[in-house]
Symmetry: C2
Subunit: 359 residues, 2 copies
């Protein structure tokens, strides 16, 4: 009897678990995007049937191309580039080559590149995005790590920058230098980055029994929003020598050097901004109004985008996102997964405070 | 006799031509960096000996990996990125994949990546650089095209942006809108880009019997140089109502709104800048002095770097370098070379005038 018994096949496991053979392969090889429950159901079915993967197939699977695919929605992006460089650097150190492919937000191009990567038998794929908003997982049968933009499947391996860490460092720096009345000028509303940073500022202040001077403000990621936000904040919080609220006409006179705001109570001592671009608009507008940064008002940026941070007058105290390190971590996680030890869930990489003259 | 005659080998051709076998291969396959004289000497030797390349070797050489190496000194650069994207895009359209490698100006890393490319049997290599200054050729036995930074060997295939074309378009636009007294504020001195643009401005004006109001000025590629250059130009060219030269004290008073420069003869009606960053500094400084752009003075940038060009007040009329098209052309030249039809020498790609409010 035993001699005629045919070996258990992957299709048998698939039938018992009620999934496709591809899903069985993913579950047993710890690759792809699967719910943990599915993975466990497949493993149980394989155990029950005594399924032994075909050694030839395993050998084929073990053949490595020492090539990794870098899939970027937006390779021109300020954020994707350092991530890709960090990844490429770490891969080269591991004698791996990196195939570059950009999708330009086009699902057809993404599908084409994923197919091309698999045709070239890449050992794994790093997927980067333009923002930290979660993105749908890619459906492939090899290890994948998501960098900067996490996968919307929480079981996938994602490496994202820790905006809470960066924002907390900014708040701690301001508190340590004696600032208490802090306003928050964020970027575009309802974006993951904007919301996490605003919430982290509120939480870090609450740890010291403090609050923002007013609700977090949102606009967009531009200099002009930073300039407008300054006027909105001063009209809301600054008081004239006689204790009256400031009027738009007072700003016009200050801009024309017909009045000084330097001896007024601005109602604020720091503005934390959601990006260096916004902060550059803030310092430019404060300069037009002859309000001294940092003596009267501290200003902080976010991103450490040097062209903005260094050309601001004064140069911006800001947060470096550590994107090259993030790319390196993504590459390390991918190399682990290729070696059979996949990561799951989101790993947050730390940020660094870059102190300059503005705060 | 004929039956015992051994076939002519590549080493025989090499000995007769007085070169290495590798050079014979490059010469007969139209690849690598060779002087045209060397190429012709090798061909003459091969003809004289009746050399027929080994068909097996030719077949091996014909095996294509459909992979191209992108070697970048500086993948984070504002210039290399669009070039690589344009190339990657054109290669993907041709079913070719792109291996990315960055050298970070390190010759050891460059040598490592070139070796890795060849080990992976890439069909060809695109080499990009951070500036348009010529760079030494790479020594490989497969087709190479240089993009943005040309090879210092004029026989190699290079694709570079046509700075003369861009500068001429700027001058023509200014002349067409009635500007005659034009100053040139360039970037870093003794750089290829700076010198070509300054010379092109002088030549384009000479075609209309005009000259720059003063010698081209050089500094660096920064906003602060743009701001300083404005003061230098006004102190040199502007006249007060009484016909005297402007003094530094007049600029201080204008900045404090204690004097108006709006009714003075500035001695200029346009400032053309070597980059958008310089031009942003120029418009910022003119704004501080309440000099109206473009009514009193037209200002132009170069690069169409949107973060600078659009946040300038007013937004900058500038030149788009067409870098994605340049990358695409480099890829097309490389595909030609891989197909056996190599290009030689420098191909210049055109630039585009982007008219906005500043001129």
């Amino acid at each position: 009897m035993t001699s005629t018994q045919r070996p258990v096949r992957i299709t048998d496991v698939a039938a018992l678990a009620g999934v496709s053979p591809g899903t069985v392969s993913k579950a047993l090889n710890n690759t792809g995007s699967l719910k943990e429950a599915t993975r466990q159901r497949v493993r149980a079915a394989a155990d029950k049937l005594g399924f032994v993967p075909d050694p030839d197939a395993r050998w084929l699977a073990a053949r490595r191309s020492y090539t990794v695919g870098l899939l970027s929605a937006d390779a021109a992006g300020r954020f994707s580039i350092p991530v890709m460089l960090g990844a490429e650097n770490a891969l080269a150190a591991g004698e791996m080559s990196a195939l570059l492919a950009t999708t330009r937000y086009d699902p057809v191009r993404e599908a084409y590149h994923l197919k091309a990567f698999q045709a070239r038998r890449v050992d794994g794929i790093i997927v980067t995005g333009r923002t930290t908003d979660p993105r749908p997982p890619v459906d492939v049968d090899i290890p994948v790590v998501y960098a900067f933009a996490p996968s919307s499947n929480p079981d996938d391996a994602s490496v994202v920058p820790d905006d809470t860490d960066g924002t907390t460092k900014i708040i701690q720096h301001l508190l340590a230098t004696g600032r208490r009345r802090i306003a928050h000028v964020g970027g575009r509303p309802r974006k993951h980055t904007s919301e996490v940073r605003a919430a982290a500022a509120v939480a870090a202040l609450a740890d010291h029994g403090l609050r923002l001077v007013s609700e977090p403000m949102f606009g967009d990621w531009s200099e002009s929003w930073g300039r407008r936000a300054v006027d909105q904040l001063l009209l809301r919080h600054a008081l004239t020598a006689t204790g009256d609220q400031l009027l738009a006409a007072d700003l016009v006179r200050a801009e024309r050097h017909q009045a000084e705001l330097s001896d007024l109570d601005l109602g604020l001592d720091a503005i934390i901004c959601g990006s260096d671009q916004i902060a550059r608009g803030v310092t430019d507008r404060l300069r037009e109004l002859s309000i001294d940064v940092p003596a009267q008002l501290a200003v902080t940026g976010f991103d450490n985008w040097e062209v903005m941070a260094l050309s601001s007058r004064p140069p911006l105290t800001t947060i470096d996102l550590g994107l090259e390190d993030l790319g390196r971590r993504a590459a390390e996680q991918l190399l682990d997964a290729i070696a059979g030890n996949p990561h799951h869930g989101i790993e947050y990489t730390p940020m660094e405070l870059i102190p300059r003259a503005s705060a």
